[in-house]
Point group: none
């Protein structure tokens, strides 16, 4: 089955936006075995979108259009497809209800336009946003309209459009895959341990790196679901066995939600003292619905005075060892533990940069202390990257450390 | 002058590589005022590359081909262009020397192929790699061959190709643009106020939405820099005048860096008490290098006990009005202000969802209190979206409120 993609958006032609949707959609096509013929990117220009549609070769059956489904005047993708196929629109009732419920009588005509899909098409309700996706047939082809915001596209593809494609468009060959997630190990080291599996062709094993995690996606092709499940499971087991110390979860499981689940399950409470991460660890935990079950409180003590006043860090410790030191990290964690009634206190002090580094204490140096049920431990690491990257890596590291602690526990 | 881009690489069609070259080249085109007609992405397939070349409209004068200049069998871009234009090749002597010097007698025919450029063309020597870029004329168009590795492309564009374009290809028409940034107003409402300007063609006004902000990019085309500057300024002034209450900055200015700049300039210190935003406001402030100048500390008081212990919120207040109430927000801000030595104390309490909402206090309801130099004020808002979206919108709202306060001050 041959495929084609048309991305619309003047911001893509002006270099304002990096087209990450392209990577998402092409990797999905690859996984589903849809042979992608070509990708076209045009501006928010109805004539050029129609011209792109006109150029699609006869033997292409699946055409994805991405972007331009919003309420503004330069959202023209749907209009272009409607004009090209000479179709009218109908409202997707579920989306219309959502818009009217949100906006009430203040709904503008542009807002309502978003709820329209091509007549004769099928709507894919957008759980992560407003503009629905849709598919409509015409000229013996299947045209998919998909929303531009990356997080909306990801959710819609996963929950609605991939299942639709599998059910309705793909032949006897079935595809099954699983993503295994690892942290605390470098990419080349991880790949070296499973080189033979990466070289195999069915199942395939494809690595991706994301926010300090390594993911291996195991994908098998064949005609029988049970057999596919067994093929994927067998290779997955081998990978996990060889990288056991670094494995934390699969598919939708995120490190933070796994840690949150364990904390809730074990009825453990945590409190945090952050310096260089400046609130990011707390933000990460509190993004999880229900985090009030285990998250007690946090102190963002950015300067020495705050560390002394809030956490009872000794002035002499700060003077003798500095704010970025093992001793300060320990006293911060002890301070939080003493003030609260939690099971686990975590403290972080370090140099996020770009300035503030010295030869002895370079940018990226971070001390992290854990006080867990009367036991204190400290780890020291040097993280690389810019300010935000260092903050992100510290948080990922801490989550994985807690995950390991709770697994052993 | 009209432009066109053709990216080649099967890895781009399989989702293995994120096309960052596209953003680099499109932003360079935008800056140089080359009007990009379309972007095509095809695999390493000579026939399809030639087909893409055939489709280029007559009025396009600058065509960039990116990728496929290496020594391997699937590097076919140059071959496709040669075949399409019926051209032979010549060696770029400087590149040939480099290859022979590096490989000595072990140089393979494929290695030498890399040093070839189209006959009649001009080579751009590659300081960061081996394969040179080149430009050749044909059919009244200028075809640029550029290397795929992003770091090679960046260096080559900067040092060789941009200067070449400026010197040889760009005519009298110049382009000038400015991005104006707004917050605290919905997209459709903002657009309604400047509809006539959005419809105009020179300067153009293009809206984009990002993280709760609305940006309008004003772009003028013409032949005289002074005139362009005046055109852009005139329209910018009109836009700012009509949306004065919501304007905060232009181009590279971010809301957080503007607020941080004002705080530093006025030598003001801030401290924060976060409940429903869970650390995101602190994280946002501490992302700014130098934030230790104004950021004193923060308390993430997630439960009632923490609010009482850390911020001296009265138990009776929590019982009578609830944790999510104007009274609690005020007491939180007062508590922070009393405990610290700051000029501005901010408190946030609300319901980030997805659960916890009631009819009286729905998900998204947030109370924000500001204690600024002895004066207290509270605002109440209902934000829409999922948990993370609500957190983001609250933070953006607070930044904009502080921005307004400091502007008046």
């Amino acid at each position: 089955m041959k495929g084609y993609m048309i991305f619309t958006g003047t911001e893509l032609l002006l270099g304002k936006t990096l087209n990450t949707n392209s990577q998402l959609l092409t990797s999905i096509f690859a996984e589903l075995g849809i042979d992608l013929h070509k990708i076209i990117t045009v501006g928010d220009n109805k004539k050029r979108i129609i011209a792109a549609l006109t150029e699609v070769p006869n033997d292409v059956e699946i055409i994805f259009l991405n972007g331009g489904l919003g309420p503004t005047e330069d959202d023209l993708t749907k209009e272009a497809l409607l004009e090209y196929l000479s179709l009218k629109t109908v409202y997707d009732q579920q989306t219309l209800d959502k818009i009217l419920k949100r906006a009430g009588k203040k709904a503008l005509p542009g807002d309502l336009k978003v709820a329209e899909i091509p007549e004769g098409g099928i709507a894919f309700y957008n759980d992560a946003g407003i503009a629905p996706g849709s598919v409509v047939k015409g000229n013996g082809k299947n045209y998919f309209l998909t929303p531009g915001p990356p997080e909306e596209l990801a959710v819609l593809m996963k929950n609605k459009i991939i299942p639709y494609l599998k059910e309705n468009m793909l032949g006897a060959e079935k595809i099954h895959s699983r993503t295994l997630k690892f942290a605390g190990i470098g990419e080349s080291k991880a790949e070296d341990k499973i080189r033979d599996l990466i070289r195999a062709s069915n199942p395939t094993v494809a690595p991706t790196i994301k926010d300090g995690e390594i993911h291996f996606r195991v994908t098998a092709k064949g005609e029988d679901w049970n057999e596919l499940e067994k093929m994927v499971s067998d290779v997955s087991e081998k990978i996990i066995e060889r990288l056991e110390d670094y494995y934390f979860g699969k598919d939708d499981e995120s490190l933070e939600s796994l840690v949150a689940g364990k904390l809730t399950e074990k009825k453990l409470k945590i409190a945090i003292a952050e310096s260089c991460t400046g609130g990011l660890l707390s933000h990460t935990f509190t993004n999880i619905p229900g985090s009030s079950e285990f998250f007690d409180r946090a102190y963002i003590t950015y300067n020495n005075q705050a560390k002394i006043e809030e956490l009872k860090v000794k002035k002499s410790t700060l003077e003798q060892y500095g704010a970025v030191s093992e001793n300060t990290a320990i006293e911060m964690a002890e301070g939080v533990f003493a003030k609260t009634n939690v099971d686990l206190a975590i403290s972080i002090t370090g140099i996020a940069g770009p300035s503030g580094g010295t030869i002895d204490k370079p940018v990226g140096l971070v001390y992290i202390a854990f006080k867990y049920k009367e036991q204190i431990s400290v780890v020291t690491r040097i993280f690389s990257g810019n300010r935000l990257e260092i903050k992100n890596k510290v948080v990922k590291f801490i989550l994985f450390e807690i995950f390991r602690k709770l697994k052993e526990d």
